[in-house]
Symmetry: D2
Subunit: 270 residues, 4 copies
């Protein structure tokens, strides 16, 4: 880890990032919402449901990085307006992925936290651009990123002046095909030792299977993660993207109950 | 998972395996001890220490699968006699790795559980041979094994007549070099759904770094694992093998305290 | 390969792309030049040398996707002007990497072929933007791209109206650390069967070791590749980026002699 | 590469190994035959066909390392007797895989070259046992072996007294699923630089697709390989194992014609 400077844990206090009612790096923060914003009705329903279950931020994709050009590409501006409405109704700050350097400045008016997805982890122009924005950045690990590379991507953002980066482990690509990716929970304690930035976990992309989300969410808490980001959909089977890894609101509420209970236990344990 | 029959969870009750005072698949079982049996003094000291900290079985390698032929290859029979003495003194059943089909039958007189290591996961002759033995088998996942292949390796053992197989996730080989391997905790819930066999976790080989063992041990508990296997050495820096991933007895005791506490909490949670 | 349509070999003739004096998909095309454009002097010297050795296009990076923000980021517009001067002097069309959607339209005035690097393989905004440009695109395989994903990335470009895509195998990320990546030459015949697009090979990034470039260049020819892209530097040890995989002009000339000779032989063989 | 001594190219002349009419490390040696010996009729027919097409050794598995215990496990001794008969009729020395330490000494009476398969690459007991045998050993790279590990496995054999090891690249396990494995041809020049042992290539297991075998065989020649091992079956669709990567005798003959022609050309080129 020779190159990292600003993100290194050496000589720096742990970063805390206030967003809405919670503080990343201090509270256990849960981000939840649909993979894609599909309609106002769907998004508002999910937003209310995740809020009721204890989520602190609402996520929802409006620009979707799809493998195929013929996949659903997201609602764009229309989707952002839906997210804003959901925020107004629920009070939940919103997180949404940005794909294009040209979208960073105007998106700031709509969203509270930028997400940089795994596929753009080494889109250095985009990292620099969000580094110049005044919004926190949720930086997902690339599916082929070493810890060293991932931290250097965070360094790109900090070196442009934006100190508010939240790291997110979301699984790496391995030879195993039963799971969509291999969720690397060792990233949580390893990276928290190397850097002062908060680290959360995405148990859905890491596994790609709904039934693995509850145990891996609990394992993430026990590993010391600072939070979770989870996809919730009113009707996963009809989702326009990633339906097989989305939770129903009921499943989400059940997991949250256990997650917050475990987190409270863990705080007493240490 | 087309090929698996005997190990499939379909149509079978969950397997429980009694060894000494504990039952794999029912109790949370901790296996601990030195990577290699180096001397009687070292082994007895570790055995007493891990027993005091709550371990249920003693592990210790006497045949070591080393990358280089010039690495320490283990004490062989002399080591087994030391393990027997440690069992006599502590009451802990012993687990030791077998590397050669010719050693299976006579080793049965000394050990309580055979370990098949990651490097021999597809040594089918050895799998068949322990399949004919009357001792439980701790079957580590190969560093390149898919879940399907791993379960087929267990199928080899069961199809020869030995029903007592304990699976052990120990990390897979990926592109990440900061950790020795990538511990795949999703294997725990995934494989427990596919098979009725118990699944434990080795957090040391999966990470290769002492400081990652405590959080990953807790994460393993939260993921639903049936136990842990951990390496403990009186003086890790002087160990003849794998010293950088061994715990001191003090570190081990500290982890055990938290692990058993978390396990008790988890049982109340579900 | 369900999703690909426009790039599929089914129902389409093989694509040929004329650039300067050569035609990708028909001639064996060699692209050569420095990793980074560092100065006019360096670039012109290399351009003349590679032209003399038989190269058909000049490559040179002016926007460099570096792991660390503190690495040399390229000369930008100044570098493009140097490439233009090199083209004027040598007649070699120029290839250069684009990193940002905002740079596509104005860079068209300077370059002849856009390169999309491995790190931007799933920067779908950028793929769409070069899809709207009127210049051929050299699309490198991502270090974590399956063939299916890579071809879908090409589909993004074609579906925006640009039919002129040249695929480039450059090595994938595996567990092997002796080589920088693992050059996957099976990609050449495999992808040429799946698509009608030309496929060339980058033997330098695939191996990261100068001494492996000659044999892998010859192997690429024998595998049926449509060309090569190679990095050449007047003084590799002083290069600002990737010096340990750059060839000297002398080494390059020696390889070219063999490559063209082998290519001629292979054409007689089939 | 700190540990290797006996196999290191430093301080040693290149190894040549005479088997029948050819010398590994000097001639370009082709090993061909069925994946499994299934019957006398099948094996003799293939043996005559591959001999006619220019093969120098006959391969055929009699102990098959199958993923599932319910897969065809090989004919054992009966198969060896068939191989001996094929040798008598064709004059081709025979290569066959050994899986069990107990089989090494008696198999020496039947076979000319032992094969250690990818799954047993770190079955160190078996490596030591063939190290004490007086027959050459064809040592396949494990699907998860680094060059360093692979060479250390060869070191195990040499350190027991057997100097006659032939290395065989056969593909490594990566995330790519279109091919069965990823054939790493860079292993040929890389390993030939590190060691004095001959290196051949198995283009069938590396790709798992019949149509990729011809181009990858030619690429292997161009990369500097010392030979090839290829699976040939009279009726691939009816093969008891690995039918989708076996060549018909006609396909094999066609490839051999090109392979030997290219090899002759390459010798003139260097």
């Amino acid at each position: 880890m020779n190159n990292i400077k600003l993100v290194s844990s050496k000589g720096h206090e742990r970063t805390t990032i206030r967003v809405g009612e919670v503080t990343f790096g201090k509270d256990f923060v849960v981000i939840a919402g649909p993979c894609s914003v599909e309609s106002e009705k769907q998004t508002l329903a999910v937003a209310h449901a995740v809020k009721a279950a204890g989520a602190h931020l609402l996520r929802g994709g409006v620009f979707k990085p799809r493998t195929s050009p013929y996949g659903f590409q997201g609602l764009g501006l229309k989707g952002l307006k839906i997210l804003v409405k959901a925020r107004q109704e629920t009070g939940l700050p919103v997180v949404s992925e940005v794909l294009d350097t040209r979208d960073v400045s105007w998106m700031c008016e709509y969203i509270d936290v930028f997400q940089i997805g795994a596929r753009n982890i080494q889109n250095f122009s985009l990292l620099k651009e969000v580094g110049r924005a005044r919004k926190p950045v949720l930086l997902k690990r690339g599916m082929y990123s070493t810890f060293a590379e991932w931290l250097n991507c965070a360094e790109y953002i900090l070196s442009e002046g934006n100190p508010d980066v939240i790291l997110c482990e979301r699984g790496i690509r391995t030879f195993e095909t039963y799971t969509r990716n291999t969720l690397d929970l060792s990233a949580v304690p390893a990276v928290k030792e190397l850097t002062h930035l908060p680290v959360i976990v995405d148990p859905a992309h890491g596994t790609g299977r709904t039934r693995l989300i509850p145990p891996m969410s609990l394992a993430a808490v026990a590993s010391g993660a600072d939070g979770l980001t989870v996809e919730v959909h009113g009707n996963p089977e009809a989702a326009l993207s990633d339906g097989d890894q989305a939770l129903t609101p009921l499943q989400f509420a059940e997991i949250m109950r256990k997650v917050f209970s475990l987190r409270a236990f863990m705080e007493g344990l240490n």
